[in-house]
């Protein structure tokens, strides 16, 4: 097989667990020059990413067991897997906050060794990632100054991002004065104003209530479509993964692998009630649920 393990046409379901094994020995440590054709479709590419915590000790824990996938420019990809399957570890590796034990993750053909400037991550726990001493607008503006932008440009971006997430009028409040859902909107606005090529989201809606979650999902889809973003969205919620994405990557329980790459060919714009009632949606969510159940029972 070629060097592109899962650059696949988006037919319905492709099981990739066998494919991941073949690239196992590819360039373990030394940084790879952008030798492969950059801009050849994939914006982000993970190749056989493995991570072991406490290697060689009694607490050795293999979190990632060889994960490969790619995300194209403009795509909305969700990663779904059981709790504790290593999703956060994967996101930390993809965002460059952590180095995987082996394997490479590259963005625009360049291997990620530190946090790339063109990428940002929205954390699950908004209360810990917003800065409580900065007002809403200052939180959104925070990264823009270091990005070297002039004040008018920054002000415009902040205003636009806050408008995109529906928080216009809350600029001078402190995060603590907002509800949980609104705080996560601030965190998303901050990521949007930063205008990364790639937006990573690590279970961003796991700690908000169901109604808020639905409205945040639609807000995200709306912004993704209007602003032409590329999103990699991690969740443990099967409905959410199918509802949002163009493609769902299903992870197995730890050590996690991509056990399926499912294309979601459901028409957009999607609707919380109508889309979820379509036979395609029902079938896909059942498919994903079955995969996760089988993978979990196999692991235990």
């Amino acid at each position: 097989m070629s060097s592109e393990p899962i650059e696949m046409t988006h037919t319905s379901v492709t099981h990739t667990s066998d494919l991941t094994e073949t690239t196992e020995m590819s360039e373990p440590t030394q940084p790879v020059e952008p030798a492969e054709p950059a801009g050849a479709g994939a914006l982000l590419e993970a190749r056989d990413v493995r991570h072991t915590y406490g290697a060689g000790t009694r607490e050795e824990h293999v979190a990632l067991g060889g994960i490969s996938f790619s995300v194209d420019q403009g795509e909305f990809v969700s990663i779904v897997g059981p709790s504790g399957c290593g999703k956060t570890t994967l996101m930390r590796c993809v965002s460059g906050l952590m180095k995987p034990t082996s394997g490479t993750i590259s963005m625009k053909g360049e291997v990620i060794s530190a946090v790339p400037a063109d990428l940002t991550l929205v954390f699950q726990d908004y209360s810990r990632s917003l800065y409580p001493w900065l007002r809403v607008a200052a939180n959104v503006d925070f990264p823009l100054k270091d990005a070297g932008l002039a004040r008018p440009e920054r002000e415009e971006r902040v205003a636009q991002a806050l408008a995109d997430v529906g928080l216009t009028g809350h600029e001078t409040k402190y995060p603590r004065q907002l509800s949980g859902g609104m705080q996560q909107r601030v965190a998303i606005a901050r990521a949007l104003a930063y205008r990364p090529a790639m937006l990573l989201m690590d279970e961003p809606y796991a700690s908000v209530d169901a109604q808020t979650r639905a409205s945040l999902e639609d807000m995200l889809l709306d912004v993704w479509e209007r602003r032409n973003k590329t999103v990699l969205f991690v969740t443990h919620d099967i409905d959410e993964s199918v509802y949002l994405a163009d493609r769902v990557l299903v992870l197995s329980n730890g050590p996690s692998r991509v056990i399926a790459d499912i294309a979601v060919d459901i028409a957009r714009p999607r609707d919380q009630i109508d889309t979820k009632a379509t036979p395609e949606f029902v079938e896909l969510r059942a498919e994903v649920a079955r995969l996760i159940r089988d993978a979990s029972s196999g692991a235990i």
Partner: protein, 256 residues
């Protein structure tokens, strides 16, 4: 005005407590009829006549020399402690080198340095400023270290994914996050600074608030002695009030 109305009960309770203390003071001293324990009315009269009527003199002779020593010693120690505290809080290795030394110095009562400093640094202001600084730095330093160490790692992860520069990481993440702890240290240290200021002025001095009290005692002017103590109480309260005012402004985000 609305603030006064909503806090009226609080204000009345506090005034009543102060009134009760004054009443007791007056009653006890007038019963005692002792030279050493003058009644409050004579004490306040002395505050008015000896300190306030010729304020330009007492400012020059007493307030200003004392304030200069206190604010210099306190200010220098505060800045140094916060800088070193951030470094220690962020670097485990640096902390391992420096912390035992800090804990040893902290264990020494600062006035014990006074005779040594008199020999080493002379009787001028330097000696007093250094004494104040030595006593003031441990609480600020230790609180800064603790404040910096207890910052949620996700705040740094967030700064990482947002590509925040090192300088703004210090000014916009580390310092504000540690600010509540730093202010706790600053408040403890302010009272220590006032104590050490007075102690340093009780020997080898010719001006300052502490010197004035010592002088009054030597001249058997017990009313003036008490007046000096009252003035020191007021000075300490005002300094602490200023600090609390600044703290409330800086930490406003934490109480919204």
């Amino acid at each position: 005005m609305s603030w006064v109305r909503s806090h009226l009960a609080d204000i009345l309770i506090r005034l009543a407590a102060v009134g009760a203390l004054l009443a007791f003071w007056w009653w006890a001293t007038s019963q005692a009829e002792s030279l050493y324990f003058p009644t409050p009315d004579t004490v306040f009269q002395s505050v008015w006549n000896d300190w306030l009527m010729n304020f330009s003199d007492s400012w020059r002779e007493n307030f200003w020399p004392s304030m200069k020593r206190l604010l210099l010693g306190y200010g220098l120690a505060a800045v140094a402690s916060v800088v070193i505290g951030v470094a220690i809080g962020r670097s485990r290795t640096f902390g391992q080198y420096v912390e035992p030394i800090i804990h040893f110095i902290r264990a020494i009562p600062p006035p014990a340095f006074l005779p040594l400093f008199l020999i080493l640094l002379g009787i001028e202001d330097t000696q007093k400023i250094v004494l104040i600084a030595i006593g003031v730095f441990p609480p600020i330093l230790l609180n800064t270290i603790e404040g910096v160490r207890s910052i949620d790692p996700q705040q740094f992860d967030t700064a990482d994914v947002l590509q925040i520069s090192t300088r703004r990481r210090v000014t916009h993440v580390i310092l504000p996050a540690a600010a509540p702890k730093i202010f706790a240290g600053l408040r403890i240290s302010m009272s220590i600074a006032v104590i050490l200021m007075v102690i340093s002025e009780l020997s080898a001095t010719t001006d300052g608030l502490g010197f004035r009290i010592l002088q009054a005692s030597r001249q058997f002017k017990y009313v003036e002695l008490w007046a000096g103590i009252v003035v020191l109480g007021v000075v300490g309260t005002v300094l602490n009030g200023c600090l609390v005012f600044v703290e409330r402004r800086v930490l406003r985000w934490s109480t919204v």
